[in-house]
Each structure stands twice: as C-alpha cells, then as structure tokens.
Symmetry: C2
Subunit: 209 residues, 2 copies
Amino acid sequence: MASTYSMASTSFGANSRFDRQLSRILNHATAIFCEKGYEGASIRDLSRASGLSLAGLYYYFQSKDELLYLIQKHLFTSVMERLKENLKTAADPEKRLRIFISNHLAYFLARPKAMKVLSHEDDVLKGALGAEIRTLKRQYYHCCADLVEELKLTKKLKFKSRAVVLCLFGMMNWIHTWYNPRVDGDAATVAREIGNVFLRGIYASTSGR
Amino acid sequence: MASTYSMASTSFGANSRFDRQLSRILNHATAIFCEKGYEGASIRDLSRASGLSLAGLYYYFQSKDELLYLIQKHLFTSVMERLKENLKTAADPEKRLRIFISNHLAYFLARPKAMKVLSHEDDVLKGALGAEIRTLKRQYYHCCADLVEELKLTKKLKFKSRAVVLCLFGMMNWIHTWYNPRVDGDAATVAREIGNVFLRGIYASTSGR
C-alpha cells in the first residue's frame, strides 16, 4: 500500500476489507481537512475525492467529528507505538530523549498533511471524542516530559520543566511550516539539529526551577 | 479604545472615522477566522458579528482575501515597527536578540486570536496579495536571522543558521497552543525562558555550519 497513512498495527486492525477502506477514507479526509480546514471541509468534498457515495461513507463513520477523531486517534496511537519500540533500544537518558525527537520528526515529516491537521484542528473536538483525544495527547506529552525529567535528574539540571518541554514541542511542530527536504536534509538531520539546540540549551541551565 | 487590535501607528493612519471602523471590522474578522478558519468563515458571519450590512462591509474591503491580507499586513507591519523602536535601546548582540524575543511574545501574547490566524492561514493568500504578505514575512524573518547572525559572528559560534532561526520561531509561535498566564507567567517571563534555552543552546554549539 503506497499510502503515507497506513492503519496497520493500530487498534482498528489492518487486514480486513473494512479497515483498508477506512484507511483510504481517512487519507482523503486528512488531505481535505488540510486544504480546507475542518470547518470549511464537507462530507460532500470527501465523497468527491474518494469516489464513494455519501451513504457509502456513512457506513464507515457517523459524523465529521468522528472522522477527525479517527484521524487524530490513529496518529497519536501509532506515533506512540513506534516510540515504545524505538525506546527499547536505549537506556541512556540523553539517547532516549534524542529517540523521542527523531521518532516524532520521522513520523510527522512523512505525513505533512496529517501534521498540519493535528496542529490546526487541535481544539476542535468537544464532548467525549474530544476528551479521549486530549487524554491521548496528554499521554504523548508525558512520554516526552518523563524523558526530559529523567535527563534532568541524571544530570542534576535546573529549569522549569513545563516551559522547556513545550519549547521542544514548538521546535518540532513548527517544522510543518518551513521544512524543505532539499534545503534542510532528512528527518534524522533535522532531529539532530533540534536535539543539539535543545540539549545544549538545557545542559547549560544553572538557574530556574 | 479597549480593542486588542489597535490600528494606531500603521500605514492606514489612526484617526479617521474610516480607519477606526476598519480597525473594528478587522478585529471581528480576526475573531471569526480564528473560530471558523479562513475557509469556513463567511462575510455573512462578519456581518452578523459586526452589526454591519454586507454592502456596508464591502465599502471597507473588496473580498475575503483582502480582509485576510489587511489583517496579516497590519500584524507584520506593527510588530516590526515596535521592534525597531525597542532595538534602539540596545547595542549588545545578545541583548538585541532578547529584545526580538520579548517584542514578539509581548505583541502576540496580547493578541492570541491574531497569532492563531497568522499561523493557521499562513499560506492561504495567492497572487499579488499573497506575494506582498510573503515579502513582509520574509523581512520579519530576516530581522531575526540578522540578529542571530550578528551574535554568531561576535561570539564566533558555529551552527546552521536557518535551522537555528526556525527553531527559535517554533519555540515562540507554538506558544499559542499552550500559553496559560496563570501557570506560565507574563510575556517577559516566557521570553526569558525561551531566550535561555535558545541562547544557551547556540552558545554551546561547537560544530555544524
């Protein structure tokens, strides 16, 4: 499957005809949300792009909200699964934080449209669907915050953790506005550069909480 | 005027009735673009929010594109004007870069909706209006890049300037997704923290271009 948005290894399962079709629909929906924004996009746009009828689409999801929910859930779930796999290879706190950065960038630079949808439609979902996404997002944030905390303790660093972790997310997530592989190199190169600025920044910290 | 989006000291001029009304319209438009996204927002929404008729609104601008253009132009122009004023007070390269950071954060944290519109609708405008905004944005980017370059030369640092400057913009601009004044303190506090991570990060750099 040539898609950049494989549903493989998620809780949806990978191999049934239903899952493959849903995966294809979510790809189209991601592209449309990316182009038109969530508010501006319609299920009719998705019908045109996917070649499926409205009735055919509603067999796979119940609402535009659920569509965004499925996209966001898939992204957070699968980037965390990959992270867990990759972290198994390292015990050193600095190396583990570098793995977080390279995992995040490799995953999202391969999915620029998904990255834009995730950052632009971050606060759209309300109610139970929104609460579930916020929980996933918090888990992912804490994966990173825990790694920063581990490093802070090991190296006896002093800084205000929340601001520092959110600086790192800023450096990583803003990249969807500027990344050009011909100018900036591959994900590993950018991950090394961001890791350098960030790690040198916190290693040199001697004050603050 | 209680507005967070004063048009004072821009090229529109500040005091005519036309300018005051335009300023009020741009405030409403910013709030609507923020809430619904550019694609999802309509001039009819703006009419409802501002209490002006469609015909009344089209006296001030010709299209939704021009509305977004006026908002973006005002923001880049006025943040740069303030920056130039603030930079007059310092000659030291590190202090000047810290002024860029605190100017950017003080300006945009006071205008969270404008900040969101600027980052979400960054690539929407095409044609001549889009070209003019891209030029303004490039000027603003180079204000920052020049300050970083000045510091790099003075301190004989080694790093890839483009990646480093864009890391800094990432740290500053991502803030609209997380900033909470009760938890994170005021703009000056956040500017100091971001400045610390960034400056320590580049001061410790010994390799790269």
